[in-house]
């Protein structure tokens, strides 16, 4: 650092209180102008700038994690950054690749599973070919349960020209009242509103962020997350770790209270407008001519206390049975390719910490089931 006298001589300024006041005022002024310009300019595409797929290998699944220091991964809501960090964004699609994308919740993302143990990983390990091409499955699951969140990801994923989409769903993703409440949805109001308009969905739009929320100060958390995601690329590349793998954790619940309600609804039937089938319809429209396979994902069917009332922690039997019936009706009505695998793996030994989180072995069984369906389909 220059001594003050030298500084003043070099800069040819009088170093007095007036100079200091001007420095302070100019600094504050520049800070305010930068914030204002940032808010006006609204650089939504910042997330597209990524070190992944360039300096670091792309991630096998979307960034998600509550303990970044140990998982080298974090949850953020910038969809561009999520895709830019994913291996699917890593350059042009190879000519011999049959691009299969998997959409869904935490069971697809693979809580407690290493990337190669997830459904996508198991499908890739199977070495499938389809229509003369090598099948490459991309894990685009994200650990919150909502069809609207799935639609948001699916709509973006279509840019990557998949040959086929497999969308795994479960009843918990359907309640209409939770479609716009998941953090990923709530933090992407512009994209969500565009989807609502595009597919004429029966939801009120989300409110847009205020000018203050769009400033650098308002966006500081999002910007910091963006930066941290890039930094954790080093540890992802160095270790291949993207979540914490505890040796011990609470197993999926098998004993329940005598509660038969589901999201405030009671037997015998779910209300007609309770489930957001319109989002599923929007998804089917979003993929266009690309083949779409809807899968009702496997779940734990408990044999514990009050299992005559509930299948598992998530679902009372009446609600789930009604959902399956309606899902089958909708699939038939719209001509959807639908695979109901709800009872493929009923035993608790197939599940880890939740009624929908499969063990690696169970995930392999599910992959085998889906692979057999895939190979039976004719090529266009």
């Amino acid at each position: 650092m220059l001594p003050s006298t030298e500084y003043s001589r070099n800069a040819e300024v009088r170093l007095d209180s007036r100079f200091l006041r001007n420095v302070l005022l100019k600094g504050i002024g520049l800070f305010l102008i930068c914030n204002w310009l940032f808010a006006i300019w609204n650089p939504g595409g910042l997330g597209k700038i990524s070190l992944y797929n360039h300096l670091f290998p792309g991630r096998e699944r979307f960034p998600f994690g509550e303990n970044p220091a140990q998982s080298y991964n974090l949850s953020l809501f910038d969809l561009d950054a999520m895709f830019a960090s994913h291996v699917i964004a890593g350059g042009a699609r190879p000519a011999d690749e049959y691009r299969l994308i998997l959409i869904g919740d935490s069971s697809v993302w693979g809580i407690l599973l290493r990337p190669d143990e997830t459904l996508a990983g198991q499908l890739n390990a199977a070495g499938l070919t389809r229509c003369g091409k090598r099948v490459h499955a991309y894990n685009l699951g994200y650990p919150t349960i909502s069809l609207m969140k799935d639609l948001l990801i699916l709509d973006e994923a279509m840019r990557y020209q998949p040959d086929m989409v497999i969308w795994l769903v479960t009843l918990e993703a359907f309640p209409a009242d939770k479609q716009l409440t998941t953090p990923l949805i709530a933090n992407n109001p512009a994209r969500v509103n565009a989807l609502i308009r595009k597919f004429d969905l029966p939801f009120a739009g989300l409110s847009q962020p205020t000018l203050w929320e769009r400033t650098i100060i308002g966006q500081r958390r999002a910007l910091a997350d963006l930066f941290r995601l890039q930094m954790y690329g080093v540890l992802w590349a160095a270790t291949g770790v993207d979540q914490i793998y505890p040796t011990d954790y609470p197993r999926a619940q098998v004993d329940f209270e005598t509660d038969a309600s589901f999201h405030g609804w009671n037997p015998p039937l779910l209300p007609a407008d309770a489930l957001a089938f319109s989002v599923l319809e929007a998804g089917a429209r979003a993929v266009g001519d690309t083949p779409l396979l809807l899968v009702n994902e496997p779940m734990l069917i408990s044999e514990g206390e009050n299992s005559d009332i509930r299948y598992n922690f998530f679902y009372p039997r009446w609600a789930y049975d009604h959902y399956r019936q309606r899902m089958a009706e909708q699939a038939q009505r719209h001509g959807w390719d639908y695979l109901d695998l709800w009872d493929l793996l009923p035993d608790k030994s197939n599940y880890t910490n939740s009624a929908i989180h499969l063990t690696p072995a169970a995930e392999a069984l599910l992959a085998r089931q889906i692979a057999s369906v895939l190979t039976q389909k004719t090529c266009p």
Binding site: S17, L20, L235, A237, T239
Partner: protein
């Protein structure tokens, strides 16, 4: 230290600066520093320990002053106000127990006033006894440093610290099963101890200026330097303290630049590098040598920017208060050899060890009846100095290995310099530059490899990382 706390420190410093008149300046700085001693102390699981440790800091400072009083005696009247202020602040902090809201002055509720009173009476008695008999007691100049060394061991040696925790928990009727060395974290003790030891030693050698209680306590616990130094010298510090602090615009600018630079170094660079720096978990997870080097580099840079950032903030805050605190870092990673690295890394610590350990030891070895060969003397002095610096960070194997690594490095550099002195003197300038550049690269990597021992608590993990770095694991 959290950003919020640093910003609060800056605000308090600015308030002190505005009230910074000659009259009462020392008392104001002492009072703020005393409050900082309590406020910066981390919360501890042992009941009331986060009140007693700051109180012990003040007692130690007062004891240090008592032991460094000149033989001619002291004008007690001059120091009465400072003593009352010290006790008064401790009492006021104790009284916050009875407030309906908790103040950010203490991490948890202070003990009952009767206990606070008892503690302060005991502290006052100890100080009074030292004032009365300290100078006559022949063993005190030796026993005081030994006492401080004992406290070092109690705090820095995990098995001993755990025993202390067990004892304190038992006395408090708290669960002993959860006793942990981390139960006893005494903020700033190391730096406080260094300052007190320096004054004790310099009093013995007759080099210490006579200072008042307020000046001495302010020196020992000066709040910008409390958590992370630098370690100033008393004779230099009191010059600034006694000089009226008339800040010029240049001072404001220099202080502002230094604080902003420090904040940027610490919170933008160091904290970002911390995300990817080598640690005990990722040391075992990395699968390729190249990435392992990346993590080691990140750690090397993180520790530098973190520490030098804190130092910049401390120096900037000091400047606002009219103090020219000593520098602690001077581009250490750009130095062409290990000796220069240590002359520019944590400079005030190395100067302290040089003055109070390395030089006296070397003198003693040289003046022995049968002096050892020079290389052996250098080896002994350098290894033991670096070993001590390692132990200062913690009495565990990893710090011992780190100290030995640097001790050996310094010894080999010394021998290399000796050997090349005549041989490389006539080198052309470009060659000299190339040699310096190569030396800087080599030195940085030597230091970075040393950080592997420093960063990882288990030597087995360090060994694994070293093997991995060279593709052997």
């Amino acid at each position: 230290m959290a950003l919020a706390f640093i910003l609060a420190s800056i605000a308090i410093t600015l308030l002190c600066t505005l009230a910074n008149r000659r009259r009462g300046r020392t008392y104001l700085l002492m009072a703020v520093s005393v409050l900082a001693v309590y406020a910066l102390q981390p919360a501890l699981p042992i009941r009331f320990l986060d009140f007693w440790l700051p109180t012990a800091t003040l007692t130690l400072a007062a004891c240090g002053w008592a032991l460094t009083l000149p033989a001619a005696g002291q004008d007690w009247k001059r120091d009465r106000a400072a003593a009352l202020l010290l006790v008064g602040i401790a009492v006021l902090i104790g009284l916050t127990r009875y407030l309906p809201v908790s103040l950010p002055l203490l991490p948890s509720r202070p003990p009952q006033m009767s206990l606070v009173g008892l503690g302060l009476v005991i502290s006052a008695l100890i100080v009074a006894l030292l004032i009365r008999y300290g100078r006559q007691a022949r063993l005190l100049p030796i026993s005081a440093p030994i006492f401080i060394l004992g406290m070092f061991i109690a705090l820095k040696c995990p098995p001993v610290t755990r025993q202390v925790s067990l004892l304190l928990r038992a006395l408090n009727h708290q669960a002993i099963a959860t006793a942990n060395p981390l139960d006893i974290r005494w903020l700033g003790f190391s730096y406080i101890a260094f300052r007190i030891l320096h004054t004790l030693r310099d009093r013995q050698s007759g080099r210490l200026p006579t200072v008042s209680l307020a000046e001495y306590v302010t020196y020992v616990i000066f709040f910008p330097t409390l958590p992370a130094g630098p370690i100033d010298r008393l004779e230099r510090f009191v010059v600034d303290l006694r000089r009226p602090a008339a800040l010029t615009a240049a001072d404001w600018l220099a202080a502002g630049r230094r604080i902003v630079l420090g904040l940027f170094k610490k919170f933008a660079i160091a904290d970002s590098l911390a995300l990817i720096a080598l640690n005990a978990t990722n040391a075992w997870q990395v699968h390729a040598a190249g990435w392992m080097w990346m993590l080691v580099y990140a750690y090397a840079l993180q520790i530098y920017f973190d520490f030098s950032g804190y130092t910049d903030i401390a120096i900037g805050l000091g400047r606002l208060l009219g103090f020219h605190l000593p520098e602690n870092f001077n581009a250490p990673y750009l130095k062409p050899n290990l000796t220069q690295f240590w002359n520019n890394w944590h400079m005030t610590l190395t100067q302290w060890f040089r003055a109070y350990f390395f030089n006296p030891l070397t003198r003693a070895l040289r003046s022995a009846a049968r002096p050892l060969p020079v290389p052996v003397m250098i080896f002994l002095a350098q290894i033991s100095t670096m070993l001590l610096i390692g132990l200062w960070h913690g009495m565990t194997w990893n710090f011992i290995l780190w100290g030995l690594w640097h001790g050996l490095g310094l010894f080999f550099h010394n021998r290399w310099s000796e050997w090349t002195r005549g041989r490389l003197a006539g080198l052309a300038r470009p060659w000299q530059k190339a040699l310096n550049f190569g030396g800087a690269v080599l030195t940085f990597h030597f230091v970075a490899l040393g950080w592997v021992f420093f960063a990882l608590p288990e030597p087995s993990a360090s060994w694994h990382v070293l093997l991995k770095l060279f593709g052997l694991a």
